[in-house]
């Protein structure tokens, strides 16, 4: 194997990227950018060369038969509407299938990804040709196809391991995401549903409608954004602080039956979330057990009920409280271990200085916990901004509001997004909201996450 013969040479070959390979390579190497695998084929690496060539051929066939058309379709997004056209020669109306803007765009996105893949293969082809040329020039043996396969278990193990997951990620995450982001710049809403009606590019119009003062959309967007942020702050902070206090109380020396208490609280986390949420929805219903209990206790009239989910303010408070019920045990669970790691002598010293438990909590426990759990805190804040389940399964976003565009008073941006795409079929607006949520989260994470030690020193503990 050439690797053993020339460890030095391997290193310099490894550094040869596409650009330097192309520059330093001879004519054959340069031609490999056009005819994939040429450099390998000419020097007897038949299988490797043929594989590269076959990929290129398949791509060219695809582009000629289908791909080029689909790229053109992306520009127009279809011109022929579905409908009937008068046929002069036969004297009848003919049914015309028409274009489908949605499919045009989808195929174009797929074509673009295939093109990117083939460009990647081009760099592979050139680098492979250069490696062959370099090895010949330096008198090393050329690796056979068997050697190539064997390298997958050694220096190219990452290729072998990542190929499956990456295909999954590209097909089920990246392609749909790119498609959706492009939709945000079209008018693909309930009025423009292909194939009956075509949609087309509208530039930044959707963003303007969403953000500019005065439009129907912006009178929904800003209040919903406001509530989303309020909700995320309240939900995160209340769960964090209360959960930590609960963990401390259970952990303290004097408390007995520690595992019993823990079990009692963990039970509410252990049952599936949708079960607890749906149950809570019925429990706080206008005729649900809570209202009945209040009636029996005489706190409200015999036929009255507190509008837990039908009054905007009550609904918001109820949801935050129920979220405490769901989230506090979870924080307790995750913080217990970290709390036990706080060095005991810190507390010892504080007690000698005469600090009471509250001072100890704010001066020692909280700073220590904040230091260790900042990434968790950010994650849970992000999770709360995207907390679809709690809102959708509890209140469904209600009470509905006439001032809003298909949103209720407790709708978060994500539940509004869900309603707009699934119920309303305003796909473009849903995509715009998704992008805006991303912008908010990305800014937030950049501001905070990059400052944490665990990001800066990823290798510190290895």
């Amino acid at each position: 194997m050439s690797k053993n013969k020339a460890p030095q040479g391997e290193l310099s070959l490894k550094d040869a990227g596409f650009v330097s390979s192309f520059k330093n390579g001879n004519a054959v190497t340069k031609a490999s950018a056009l005819v994939f695998g040429l450099g390998n084929l000419l020097h007897g690496q038949i299988i490797r060369g043929l594989l590269l060539l076959a990929l290129e051929a398949a791509y060219i066939v695809y582009m000629i038969s289908f791909g080029l058309n689909s790229l053109g379709g992306m520009i127009t997004l279809g011109t022929q509407e579905q409908g009937q056209v008068w046929n002069e020669s036969l004297q009848i109306f003919e049914y015309v299938k028409g274009d489908n803007s949605m499919l045009f765009l989808l195929y174009a996105v797929i074509t673009i990804f295939l093109t990117l893949a083939i460009l990647l293969m081009m760099t592979v082809s050139v680098r492979s040709a250069y490696a062959t040329e370099w090895r010949l020039a330096h008198g090393h043996a050329l690796p056979t196809f068997g050697d190539d396969l064997r390298s997958l278990r050694q220096q190219n193990l990452h290729v072998l391991l990542l190929v499956g997951p990456c295909i999954g990620i590209i097909v089920f995450t990246i392609v749909p995401l790119v498609f959706t982001i492009l939709i945000a710049f079209t008018n693909y809403d309930s009025q423009h549903q292909p194939p009956g009606n075509l949609f087309t590019w509208v530039g930044l119009q959707n963003f303007k409608n969403m953000l500019a003062q005065g439009s129907a959309l912006s009178t929904t967007f800003w209040p919903v954004l406001q509530w989303t942020l309020i909700w995320a702050v309240f939900a995160t902070v209340s769960n964090y602080i209360l959960g930590m206090i609960l963990a401390i109380v259970i952990n303290r020396k004097g408390t007995r039956f520690k595992s019993f208490w823990r079990f009692m609280f963990i039970l509410s986390v252990a049952i599936p979330q949708f079960v607890s949420l749906l149950s809570m929805r019925t429990i706080f219903n206008a005729n649900g057990p809570v209202n009945i209990l209040l009636r029996d206790l005489g706190l409200i009239g015999a036929t009255d009920s507190i509008p837990f989910f039908t009054n905007a303010l009550y609904a918001k408070i109820t949801i935050i409280c129920i979220n405490i019920w769901i989230g506090v045990p979870f924080t307790m669970l995750t913080t217990t271990g970290i709390l036990q790691n706080i060095p005991e002598d810190l507390y010892e010293a504080a007690r000698v200085d005469g600090a009471n438990p509250i001072v100890i909590f704010f001066k020692i426990t909280l700073p220590y916990m904040l230091f260790v759990t900042t990434p968790n805190l950010i994650t849970s804040f992000v999770g709360n901004i995207n907390n679809f389940n709690v809102i959708y399964l509890l209140s469904g976003g209600g009470p509905d509001s006439l001032e809003y565009y298909y949103a209720g008073k407790t709708d978060l941006l994500v539940t509004w997004l869900y309603k707009l795409t699934i119920t309303q079929k305003d796909y473009n607006l849903g995509a715009v909201i998704g992008i805006l949520v991303f912008v908010i989260l990305a800014t937030l994470s950049l501001l905070t996450y990059r400052h944490t030690g665990s990001y800066k020193n990823e290798e510190a503990f290895q």
Binding site: H158, L177, P272, S445
Partner: protein
């Protein structure tokens, strides 16, 4: 001093008792209602007039919209396949990120970070159309395969916890194996994987539980085919206005039945999680 300590301790225990009472109350109510003999939905009282097991028995009798056993089996099958596939993906990716050094490593991690910031179901209608284009939405069985793919397809992005675990395995172990002539592949299969049981179990269980609690994707993909519903959308549909009067008590029975295995799994996961955070090789 002793008396003061006694009083504080008593107060703490009383507060804990009250709190755990509040935390248990809704669960108790669910269990209570699942045994209620009277049908219908909301009553003007809380304590049932009579008790029965019929709610549980009726779950297993096929009737109208209710296919509890089918829903259970659907979810079980989807969960098994998607947890195997996602665990495989997650282990591959996290091992690469933790142990192998290659050019695309940092970019990959940054891309994963960026993708994580988009709302998860923002592109669900695009996924729906892609699946439709690939012909996955033709029949119920194909829809179940589609569901498995949706649950596990992007799972490679969730590599953080497993990567953190692999990071705790000392690199000296790997180096010792290389000196003995093992390839990186051998090291992965014969050294790292056997040392990683807690994180493998944790990954398997987490992804196994996903389909039991997911509502959004199951609903979008299954649409109105109640035969192929998973348990989450099945139970949800029992609470819809036209069914709630018939299925209210059975809904609770279904909730209790499904909660027991999930709760047990969750407690197991927690145990593995604590173990995996503690690290692989104790020094």
């Amino acid at each position: 001093m002793k008396l003061k300590k006694f009083i504080t301790n008593s107060i703490v225990h009383v507060i804990l008792a009250i709190l755990s009472f509040i935390w248990i109350l809704p669960i108790f109510f669910v269990v209570l209602t699942s045994f209620r003999a009277e049908g219908g939905s909301y009553k003007t009282y809380i304590w049932p007039k009579g008790f029965t097991l019929d709610n549980y028995i009726n779950l297993f009798v096929e009737r109208g919209q209710l296919h509890y056993t089918k829903w259970f089996m659907n979810t079980f099958i989807v969960a098994i396949f998607s947890c195997l596939l996602s665990a495989f993906f997650v282990l591959c990716v996290s091992y690469c990120m933790s142990r192998l050094r290659f050019k695309m490593r940092k970019p990959f991690m940054n891309i994963a970070l960026i993708l994580g910031m988009f709302p998860g179901f923002m592109s669900m209608f695009a996924i729906y159309y892609i699946l439709k284009g690939l012909g996955f939405l033709e029949s119920g069985v194909m829809k179940m395969i589609a569901l498995v793919l949706v649950y596990s397809g992007g799972s490679g992005l969730g590599f953080y916890i497993a990567k953190g675990f692999f990071d705790t395995i000392p690199k000296t172990i790997d180096e010792a194996a290389y000196i003995d002539g093992a390839t990186k592949w051998d090291t992965f299969i014969q050294i790292t994987i056997p040392l990683s049981k807690p994180i493998i179990v944790h990954t398997l269980l987490t992804s196994f539980m996903g389909p039991w609690v997911d509502y959004i994707f199951a609903k979008v993909i299954m649409g109105t085919e109640t035969d192929y519903y998973t348990i989450a959308i099945g139970l949800w549909s029992m609470l819809e206005k036209e069914y709630i009067e018939y299925y209210y008590t059975q809904f609770y029975a279904g909730c209790v039945l499904i909660s027991i295995p999930i709760a047990i799994l969750f407690l197991l996961t927690q145990k593995c999680y604590t173990e995996s955070v503690a690290g692989a090789v104790k020094g």
